[in-house]
């Protein structure tokens, strides 16, 4: 019955806690009553009234002491004490606003930075797709190769599938309750609502059981059914909730309405659930999901085009380990009966083809892979910053503790138990930590939003919440409490150890040595950590500067890029010639346009087309990756600022009927025509017709895809000389303009010109060339900005720490300095006295920090571009910046020491 009894007393205890003032009054009454009765008793026994009252009090052995014992007896003191401690701590903290502000801000920054990064890690790396039982989902494939392939796959691991192959796997694998397919890329859709111009949207083609596989239910209307994905079925589409809200003004009539999608009439059958952003966490996720059957060119039957990712929901009890080899044998069986889809040169690779089953709960882990290294780096930096912040807090608390050691001594002398003192000081640091943690959450929220803006520059919508999740909130709360305890306990314990006699006797002159020793270690650690962060910031900053400032092989200034969607059919190669000529006519007429061109894609836009070539007069060479290929109009190279090195560029001569020509870049020339003159040589895309294109010019290398590696071997074909049987879709998607003036100002005139030429054309976006290039460095920029920020914060914190310690030391030694000066010490020697301390701390910090910075730099090396991780200039600059700022911070109190008036100093005590 023991625990029950304990439980039953809780209301009594809490009651006396909350009625504490009433209980105190009652206690007063009770004792007063007792004294009156006792005195009356004495009087009755013949004692005079005054003496009777005195004896009654004596019997009580001190009224106040008895009261205190009664309160003790109530045994709620730990709660009551805590409340008292809290009030007391709040009062003392209010009394020293400088300390409180610095401490809370420091912690807010440390915890805020860590929480912001952790929020991102949680959202990007840890969260599952918002679907039913994501742990049952498996993906058929272990990499993110995109987008369209044929035959065997890189490394033998299958990840892209044709629709017939998907059907084969779906029908032969009963272990999946559903096996769904969806396109590996998001497509641009041109959508016309009744009575308005075409707009650009993103769409994804999915199998009919896509939503069933995810176990989703429509927010409104219905989702897709397998019957929607049959050849000849009428076109239906599912709208994403976000798009419905943002671009369809969440009109309830949307379900059942009809839109014109890429020239076909499509019915919106439903709106997807609110949280669902698709199968891949990415910026600008699909606005529409459409059945694969809707895609043109009969993809349901096409076994040559491998373009689908496969996800399946495993039935409970099925083992993925057993399923994996089974899937591989299904794949090999299918390939064996469809050898015509594999080019003959790859037949030897067929037996190596296999399927890896990987966890699919987080969807296609594209962003997860892209950001893993960056986030790891950032969380490390944030943790480092938090450590520095903690060291700073501990330092401040120590300084405060030693400044208050006199007060502590008095309290000890008056009989305060040490445990109680420690508890009270801990309460204070916990209060600071909690306030810092709360402020940190705000910093984290704002920080995460800012980070998302930097990381996804150019995106309209990122399905990542800046709001910290419960997991993050809990971790941040725990973190702040832990910091509070960890960095409050040492100063509290030390302060409580002070000997009341010492402190009372010596007052301010006796410096408790252990304070200053620990403080110095802390400052040294801070300096060390800070120099690591500063050096890292310098390296990353320089790397980004090198990346952005490199010679790309084109000029991005005063250039504007407009991406256009031609997918709204209706153009035959001949019709395209007309459109193309009208473009060529109208664009240069826009006032301020220097030159204009068209192309399939522009540099660093995220596009890259590869095409295997066969050089006339040379044996086929499969050793190299297929060179890149782009289709361009006349004036293309001068518009984007790529120099012609030899021969001629593509010009007005190169029309549909004229001889087929090509321009190649330096790398192409070097790779296929080492020591030969490529001009006049021929190549082709078909082994049997290697003489299709004549090389007429060589241009300088320009980077189109990879910003860090060398330019790819590339050839350029005239826009109008497309393969005879090619599709119109994708012939040209991009307009480039070289303008005089600010490129942004030309956006509306470009849009007007395009819609003026054909209202069915969709301008997907207009962006300056500089911005398009800059978006390639989003992650690098994010890391650089954050590292710089963290470095700057670390520097500030280290300076605060150094300032606090030096100021405190100077204050402690004011008397000593006064005596020295009275005895004839000059200002220089006093300055030396103070600054020697500072120099030793900074020097030791640097001595520890620099090797760590070197080691840390080596971990960073693979992310750096054009700068060695041991770059002496950057490391030296980091050390110099730190040393000078630290000296600056310490010089303020040092000056105060120099200006000490000996008389004032001596009287000071």
């Amino acid at each position: 019955m023991r625990p029950l009894r304990w439980l039953s007393t809780i209301p009594l205890r809490l009651g006396s806690l909350f009625r504490s003032s009433q209980a105190d009054r009652e206690l007063d009454d009770e004792l007063r009553d007792h004294l009156a009765l006792k005195a009356a008793d004495y009087v009755a026994n013949g004692v005079p009234p005054a003496e009777a009252r005195r004896r009654a009090r004596l019997d009580l052995q001190g009224v106040e002491q008895t009261k205190e014992q009664c309160r003790d007896a109530r045994r709620v003191n730990w709660i009551e004490d805590f409340v008292h401690d809290l009030r007391f701590a709040a009062r003392t903290l209010r009394k020293s606003p400088g300390f409180t502000t610095v401490a809370v801000l420091t912690l807010a920054l440390g915890i805020g930075a860590t929480t912001a990064i952790f929020t991102l890690i949680d959202a990007v790396m840890l969260k599952s797709l918002p679907v039913a039982n994501p742990e049952q989902l498996y993906r058929l494939g272990d990499n993110n190769n995109c987008c369209v392939m044929s035959g065997t796959q890189n490394g033998g691991s299958f990840v892209l599938y044709s629709y017939p192959l998907y059907e084969h796997l779906r029908d032969h694998t009963p272990e999946f309750s559903e096996l769904a397919a969806f396109s590996s890329y998001v497509s641009n859709l041109s959508i016309r609502r009744a009575g308005s111009a075409a707009e650009s949207f993103k769409g994804e083609y999915v199998s009919g059981n896509y939503f069933a596989m995810f176990g989703l239910r429509a927010f409104a209307g219905r989702l897709l059914f397998p019957s929607d994905n049959l050849a000849g079925a009428s076109c239906v589409a599912v709208l994403s909730y976000h798009t419905w809200q943002e671009r369809f003004e969440h009109g309830p009539a949307i379900v059942g309405s009809t839109l014109d999608v890429n020239g076909f009439s499509c019915t919106i059958v439903g709106v997807a659930p609110e949280a669902f952003y698709g199968d891949t966490l990415r910026s600008d996720p699909p606005d529409f999901w459409l059945p694969i059957a809707v895609e043109v060119d009969n993809r349901l039957q096409n076994a040559n085009l491998e373009w689908l990712y496969l996800f399946g929901r495993l039935k409970p009890g099925s083992s993925p380990e057993r399923l994996q080899p089974q899937l591989t044998s299904e794949l090999l069986a299918w390939l064996g009966s469809h050898m015509e889809v594999v080019p003959q040169r790859d037949w030897k690779d067929v037996p190596r083809q296999h399927i890896r089953l990987t966890h699919g709960g987080r969807g296609v882990e594209q962003m997860q892979r892209d950001y893993a290294a960056g986030l790891r780096l950032l969380i490390t930096l944030a943790a480092l910053l938090l450590l520095i912040a903690c060291a700073n807090i501990a330092n401040l608390l120590l300084t405060r503790g030693s400044a208050m050691s006199c007060e502590t001594a008095v309290r000890l002398a008056l009989g305060a138990p040490r445990g109680r003192l420690i508890r009270q000081m801990l309460t204070e640091s916990l209060l600071v930590a909690t306030a810092g943690g709360a402020a940190g959450l705000y910093v984290a929220y704002a920080g995460t939003r800012a980070i998302l803006l930097i990381a996804f520059r150019g995106a309209n919508f990122v399905p990542i919440e800046a709001r910290p999740s419960l997991l993050v909130l809990g971790s941040a709360g725990l973190l702040s409490v832990l910091t509070g305890i960890a960095f409050g306990i040492a100063p509290a314990w030390m302060a409580s150890q002070s000997d009341p006699m010492d402190a009372l006797r010596g007052t301010a002159r006796s410096t408790p040595r252990r304070f200053s020793v620990l403080q110095r270690y802390l400052v040294i650690a801070q300096v060390g950590f800070s120099v690591v962060l500063l050096a890292g910031a310098g390296l990353v900053m320089q790397s980004l500067r090198n990346l952005e400032g490199q010679n790309f092989g084109f000029v991005s200034e005063r250039r504007l890029i407009a991406n256009i969607d031609l997918s709204l059919g209706g153009y035959t190669p001949d019709g395209l010639t007309g459109l193309f000529q009208r473009f060529q006519e109208k664009l240069p007429q826009i006032p301020g346009v220097v030159s204009a061109s068209l192309s399939s894609y522009s540099p660093l836009s995220g596009n890259n087309w590869n095409q295997r070539v066969y050089i006339d007069g040379k044996p086929p060479d499969y050793h190299w990756t297929a060179p890149s290929c782009d289709r361009v109009s006349p004036h293309y190279f001068e518009t984007i600022g790529t120099r012609l090195l030899q021969g001629r560029t593509i010009d007005e001569r190169d029309t549909l009927g004229a001889p087929d020509v090509a321009v190649i870049n330096e790398t192409f020339a070097r790779r296929f025509f080492a020591n030969e003159n490529p001009i006049g040589r021929r190549f082709g895309m078909d082994k049997n017709h290697p003489g299709e294109y004549e090389i007429v010019g060589i241009v300088e290398d320009a980077k189109y895809q990879d910003t860090r590696g060398p330019a790819y071997a590339t050839f350029f074909l005239p826009l109008l000389q497309t393969p005879r049987a090619g599709r119109v879709n994708g012939w040209f998607n991009t307009v480039e303009l070289h303008v005089a003036g600010i490129p942004e100002n030309f956006e509306s005139s470009v849009r007007n010109t395009v819609t003026g030429l054909d209202p069915n054309l969709v301008v997907v976006n207009v962006v300056t060339f500089g911005e398009q290039v800059a978006r390639n460095f989003n992650q690098e920029r994010l890391i650089a900005r954050l590292t710089e920020l963290f470095g700057a914060l670390a520097l500030v914190l280290a300076c605060i720490g150094l300032y606090a310690v030096t100021a405190y030391r100077v204050a402690q030694r004011t008397g000593e300095i006064g005596i020295r000066m009275a005895l004839g010490a000059g200002r220089a020697s006093v300055l030396g006295l103070v600054s020697r301390d500072v120099l030793v701390q900074v020097g030791l910090g640097l001595a520890i920090g620099m090797p760590v910075a070197l080691a840390a730099g080596r971990l960073l090396a693979h992310q750096l571009y054009g700068v060695k991780s041991s770059d002496p200039w950057i490391l030296g600059a980091a050390a110099l910046v730190l040393a000078s700022f630290a000296s600056l911070a310490a010089s303020i109190p040092a000056w105060r020491a120099v200006r000490v008036d000996p008389m004032v100093a001596l009287r000071h005590e």
């Binding site: 009652e26 009356a40 009664c70």
Partner: protein, 111 residues
């Protein structure tokens, strides 16, 4: 003077509970009664009495009530609770065992 700490641990609690088991009374009356029944042998100082009472109250063994005393002033009257009665029974039994054991030891010494 016999201090309460000299009393066997928990004995004071038991004595107070026993006295309150007979009738509710205020602190002063309790001290008088204690002196009276023990023939002045057990003197519990006023300074120890009140903390002890408050402790018992906190444990839930006794409960207090404000009443107007015979002198016309408000006084705090303590009375035994059901839980206190059970505790008293247990303590009394313990005490019986303890005292008889001690007595046996003392008699052994005499021989």
């Amino acid at each position: 003077m016999s201090k309460p700490s000299d009393l066997v641990q928990g004995t004071l609690d038991m004595l107070l509970l026993k006295i309150l088991a007979l009738q509710p009374m205020n602190g002063f009356a309790i001290s008088q009664r204690l002196k009276q029944v023990s023939g002045d042998v057990l003197q519990v100082s006023d300074g120890s009495l009140y903390p002890a009472l408050h402790k018992l109250e906190q444990e839930g063994w006794i409960t207090a009530e404000w009443k107007t005393s015979e002198y016309g002033r408000r006084a705090k009257y303590y009375s035994l609770t059901r839980m206190g009665r059970r505790h008293l029974e247990k303590e009394t039994n313990n005490w019986g065992r303890l005292s008889s054991a001690i007595s046996r030891v003392i008699e052994l010494e005499k021989v």
